[in-house]
Point group: C3
Chain length 320, copies 3
């Protein structure tokens, strides 16, 4: 595993989930594997869950960790070639990535999209250049278009809590006041589509017209524009806002009610409710659900550790 | 010890002091106790001594430590229930605290008061909610109304340097240009009042009229409005500024000289002088004292490690 | 080694280089030396390479590390005595340094010059006071006038890559859009002058008229104002911008082309090209060189670990 960037970097989903659950049962079993190995976590954007859970996973494996918060340092990186660097960028990603690769055995990178230039964001230019120039395995801590540690976590959580062999999983768009990236829904969707292919789930995406995700991420999914219809018989509802891909990065008014509450939950098969957090209460998702018995959001966040740990474990095994 | 928030969380003061001094004599004696245990330190406000000393204490006990500086991330927390989160707060304390509790075995929290709404500050709403929602033991790293690690440190320092069985300890208000919280003087006062009850000290509080602390913190203390009178026969003078509790968060002119200098020190019983730091030289306290033989401020700061270590040790012992 | 501040703190240069290369060959050989020893890294200015490489070096030696980013905390330090602290500084360096010295066995300090008051910057007032008041060994992580870990790194890198016994090393001024400190060139120059004395290199400094370094740093060096002449026969070219020492902190237009590119490189003896990074591509140094076979910049950055590790190892040995 040279990089962990998308669902393509994992073959058998159920196998990686079982390996993660085995780590959850015995967190310190492989605490010698990471001895004298350094993980560098590079944040170009803020992080709470990702930073803490990945740090903890690395420590469980016996690794050392160094964290670089480059967003707050004003250490602006140049990513384009052929630019005379007489502006605000102080270092080129060619040097910055290569240097970090010298100090670390594995790197993690978080970088949000600008949400202005769709082609640039969806080229994953920054992440790909970082991988190319750093020369060591890289874990995505959320890139412009994907958040794979979150999606692996979500699959682990669904596996733990499913009551039927092949549960119905619904990704449900939710309202927000800000324009958010498509990274989490893209990623969840591509993981669920693959899980559907491998017979693990049935997958539906529900969103208002205009909020279509890029079709690369939703192959095989049932896509509907009616939340109530989607909720019918659902075993898991994954609530998440995203901005428009078509009218890139835009947010426009939605007339129907897309916020999940207890009344809508009645339409489901007593579904478990998921969200990657942070969640804006009573805007994206009703408090009554978050504080009720159907919410999995804290257990889901807790599982972030095991998703990170299985990925790091596999990378460490290849380093040896 | 489910939380360490006030003097109420410790029974016999002398016993905890002696345990701290034993750790000071053998810092690494319990370095196996914290193995595979994670301490999370959450700062909503800046910190130097508290951060470093608590980190060091945890490391001495064999713990791993993760630090979250949430003040600088703009990761504004919502603390009120029933709020539609369509404003500037990005995550509710219910989720944020619960998630951190999933990743850590013990949490520390620093949060200053707003100094605008007295009732809100003195309800300790934020600290209490953090304790309630995180589900793990919590150490206060200074809350709206108390700074218990500082006060335990102060008692340790007094115990080490006292020349008589029951020294006279004076908490002396000092000038400042900013409106500071009452947390340090409240806390010092409630610890000294309990120490007085347990026969360890005699305790006097001296401040100008208008700077009365809330009576819950000064029960049994001698309270005077004349610094010179208070200093008479003092063995320890604890210098500290605070803003008004009565006219909440306000600062008003004080005509007399309340800054301790060598001349005023002559009124004492060759008193040792303490301050929690940071101190503004020649505004709060004369340089001639800070640079002279009577100052304990550096030794006091040094003792912060042992206060934190004894608290963490007791919490770890209960986790087992 | 009570401090590591300048080339004066090392006697035999070749010996320290060989010791560093031995650590590079066996990074974890002394991983017991730093057990239960704390390194504190204090940054008053941003850092990427210095922070990561020094952290890694300490971890290789078995030390624990605490990092304090004081630039971002608004924790402004007062450095002058006799000041009534009723302004913006919140703590005096006397207390801040002393307290950090209580928590740490070795401290590192980064502090850039203001580039406004030459006498103040060149007095190294802040660094010297930090050393004086903290009471423990101090490693400079770059001070107002020197960057010794960088210079030791550079000597290590030259030693590794030299093809002749006594290579010709040229420090070549380069263009920039900002006014940069003289710390790196001063430091490189004083290390190369000593290396020249000890028969290790031949050293030339090339810069436009007006960019003379203080003569204390260039004793014995050949100084020229013609880049092409300097490059003739060079085995190593060390590219770096700096602002004027004479017209202190100023930058003025330079008519000739001082940016090293492949055409200029032809004047050399197939020289290896060095830079401390971050480098502004095609402003300071041509991309074609950075991406070509003559660039050592990444290997140089990588060697920062071994420079830091040999310094820390020597300090730890004296602590025992």
């Amino acid at each position: 595993m040279e990089k962990f960037f998308s669902v393509e970097d994992v073959d058998e989903l159920d196998k990686v989930v079982q390996e993660a659950l085995s780590l959850k049962a015995n967190p310190h079993e492989h605490s010698e594997l990471g001895k004298h190995k350094m993980l560098g976590l590079v944040f170009l954007n803020p992080s709470l869950r990702t930073r803490l859970s990945t740090q903890k996973a690395a420590i469980n494996l016996g690794m050392d960790v160094m964290v670089m918060n480059m967003d707050k340092d004003g250490w602006a990186l140049e990513t384009q070639d052929g630019v005379v660097m007489n502006g605000t960028t102080v270092e080129h990603i060619r040097e910055a990535a290569a240097v970090m690769g010298e100090y670390c055995d594995i790197l993690g990178l978080r970088s949000f999209p600008g949400l202005k230039d769709r082609e640039l964001d969806y080229s994953e230019d920054l992440f790909n250049k970082f991988v190319k120039f750093c020369g060591v395995p890289v874990v995505s801590l959320e890139s412009a278009t994907r958040h794979p540690l979150q999606s692996l976590t979500d699959l682990i959580t669904i596996t733990e809590h499913k009551k039927v062999q092949k549960p119905k999983v619904v990704l449900a768009w939710a309202p927000h006041i800000k324009a958010l990236p498509q990274a989490v829904p893209n990623s969840f969707s591509e993981w669920m589509c693959k899980a559907q292919e491998q017979g693990l789930v049935e997958f539906t995406v529900a969103h208002p017209v205009g909020y279509e995700l890029h079709e690369d991420f939703t192959k095989g999914a049932t896509i509907v524009n009616d939340l109530d219809a989607a909720l019918d018989g659902a075993d898991f509802v994954y609530v998440k806002n995203w901005s428009s891909y078509r009218d890139y990065g835009k947010v426009f008014p939605v007339l129907q009610n897309w916020m999940l509450d207890n009344q809508k939950l009645k339409l489901t098969n007593d579904a478990k409710v998921m969200h990657c957090l942070p969640v804006r209460r009573d805007l994206e998702l009703a408090s009554e659900i978050l504080d009720g018995p159907n919410s999995l959001v804290i257990k889901e966040a807790s599982n972030r550790v095991w998703a990170a740990q299985v990925v790091l474990k596999r990378m460490l095994a290849k380093l040896k």
